[in-house]
């Protein structure tokens, strides 16, 4: 069978592969190459070795953005997952109105990052008006604003995944634990949580990568103000590319570092939570 399918390669696989090369593979390889070049467009690139990478280390905004992003990721991942798990636990007890609650909590996910950012900018600025300040008054206003926004958007999404996981835990297991005299807290930590570990793996993975790569919400909520101090890495890279003339090479080098960071974090996180999973 494989033999006769192979003859149809141009129809089945070629379109996707061609688009994949245009839309991903070629830009990716060119991006790696360009990180070693000085350029303003693709055609005038001159190879300069590691010069761009050295410049990245000297760029204080990048280091600031790195720590800012790392802290933001930790805070938002913890908040999102704890809240989502809690809501999922409470919504699997069979209380009245469960379906409606689920529908409402999931809704913000469908609204795009740009719109979300402006919705919350309106709210935060309205609240801060009482003290005569705006969201761009300090670095940390933007930080907590973004964290609240992300919770509002993502808790519903993760909640859906947790609910699916919780519904997969066999009732007999919990029953057996209860019969053996386990308190409800013990049942939760010794039975339920180990059993939903695969959902936890997925949710932390999704929220880690989402937070780490966050761009739209950051751009619309504060756009990095005050003076680039509330910039996450993705926005910092973007501003290096399109905001500073002659820094395109440095921007590309930052992007390569960013990409490597994402890969390392994703792998570490997967390994850590996978090791906690139990065989069913």
């Amino acid at each position: 069978m494989a033999h006769s399918i192979r003859k149809y390669f141009p129809i089945f696989a070629l379109p996707t592969m061609a688009a994949f090369c245009i839309g991903f593979l070629w830009p990716f390889l060119q991006g790696v190459y360009l990180s070693f070049c000085e350029f303003t467009t693709v055609t005038d690139a001159i190879f300069v070795g590691f010069k761009n990478y050295i410049k990245v280390w000297g760029d204080a905004t990048f280091l600031h953005a790195f720590w800012y992003t790392a802290l933001f990721t930790v805070v938002s991942v913890l908040a999102i997952n704890i809240l989502a798990f809690l809501v999922a636990l409470l919504l699997t007890r069979g209380i009245r109105g469960t379906n409606l609650f689920r529908t409402v909590f999931f809704m913000p996910n469908l609204i795009g990052g740009i719109v979300l950012g402006y919705i919350w900018q309106l709210i935060f600025n309205g609240v801060l008006l009482h003290w005569g300040r705006t969201l761009t008054y300090s670095t940390w206003y933007g930080f907590w604003g973004l964290a609240i926004l992300m919770c509002w958007q993502q808790v519903g999404y993760m909640m859906i995944i947790y609910i699916a996981g919780l519904q997969g835990v066999p009732e007999e297991l919990k029953e057996a634990a209860r019969m053996d005299g386990a308190t409800s807290r013990q049942t939760l930590f010794k039975v339920t949580i180990p059993m939903v570990m695969p959902s936890i793996t997925i949710c932390t993975f999704l929220s880690v990568t989402n937070s780490f790569k966050l761009f739209d919400q950051n751009l619309s909520l504060t756009a990095g103000a005050p003076s680039n101090m509330s910039e996450l890495l993705a926005l910092n890279i973007y501003n290096t590319f399109y905001g500073r003339v002659g820094w395109q090479g440095v921007g590309q080098a930052k992007a390569v570092i960013f990409f490597l960071l994402v890969v390392v974090i994703a792998l570490l996180q997967l390994r850590f939570t996978r090791s906690k999973e139990v065989q069913q």
Partner: protein
């Protein structure tokens, strides 16, 4: 635990969650409220109810639809999203079937490249991608789907492959023996079985493409074509005095179709999210 105690807790939870739900929709309602106000009152007192003084009727909407031509950007967003999703569904499902059935080196390389592409952040490829798209004249809503196919292929191929593996080979072999060529086998046998996966992938890709800001912003010819997120960002990020009323009206017009879509396809959306998470 006795039953009445439990029931009491559940009743309290229903009330608590009802209040939480109200708080959850409040930001969206707030935008709607402010879209009916006069410009200066929006940033000055966003939480104030409508009064005779601040009420602006439908002027903001008239401004948004006539001056900003918001409907043309909705049109662009629809064209891009629909074309891209159809293209991704057709091409990626065919490619995934080819990869799963023809297990040669090229298929393997393609499969792992797809997984790899899912972790690469957009900033890594954005510069080269926008230049490549420019030189290939892919900068119109009609051709940008090619880019989306390339950049979105990773997730789609991965999800389809996961499903194809669960289809028993015998069904396809039977079809082939009965004289179907691979194309007929795919469209008459495989495609109907994969229907749930098509829906899941369609949902995930729609949520992404409809709300995507940076890719169309960098690729599209912005003088002629704008999508919804781009218009909203333009209005706000623009120079000098920003027209808050216009932005509020645009945001409401942007949110309404999403909420309608969500309420109609809610079940599929939630299923799609769960399926995507399990495969991820």
């Amino acid at each position: 635990m006795n039953g009445t105690h439990e029931r009491k807790i559940n009743r309290v939870l229903t009330v608590v969650f009802s209040l939480l739900c109200l708080a959850y929709v409040a930001p969206i309602f707030l935008v709607f409220l402010n879209s009916l106000k006069k410009n200066i009152f929006i940033s000055r007192e966003p939480f104030r109810w409508l009064t005779e003084l601040n009420f602006n009727g439908l002027d903001n909407y008239i401004y948004a639809t006539q001056k900003i031509k918001f409907f043309s950007s909705i049109g662009n967003s629809v064209i891009i999203t629909v074309l891209s999703v159809i293209l991704i569904l057709v091409c990626c499902s065919m490619c995934a079937w080819y990869i799963s059935r023809v297990r040669d080196r090229l298929s393997n390389v393609m499969y792992y490249l797809c997984i790899f592409s899912m972790v690469v952040p957009f900033q890594m490829v954005m510069f080269s991608l926008s230049k490549t798209a420019d030189s290939l004249k892919l900068n119109t809503p009609w051709l940008i789907p090619v880019i989306y196919l390339g950049f979105g292929a990773g997730l789609a191929v991965f999800m389809f492959c996961g499903f194809v593996k669960s289809i028993p080979l015998e069904i396809e072999e039977a079809a082939m023996i009965d004289g179907c060529n691979p194309l007929q086998t795919f469209f008459h046998v495989v495609l109907p079985i994969m229907k749930p996966t098509y829906i899941s992938v369609a949902i995930l890709e729609t949520m992404w493409i409809w709300n995507d800001y940076l890719l169309p912003y960098l690729v599209l010819d912005l003088k002629r074509y704008k999508t919804i997120p781009i218009v909203i960002q333009y209005l706000r990020g623009g120079y000098g005095k920003t027209d808050m009323g216009g932005i509020m009206a645009c945001m409401v017009l942007a949110i309404i179709p999403i909420i309608l879509f969500y309420l109609i396809c809610q079940k599929h959306i939630i299923k799609g999210v769960i399926a995507g998470a399990v495969k991820g």
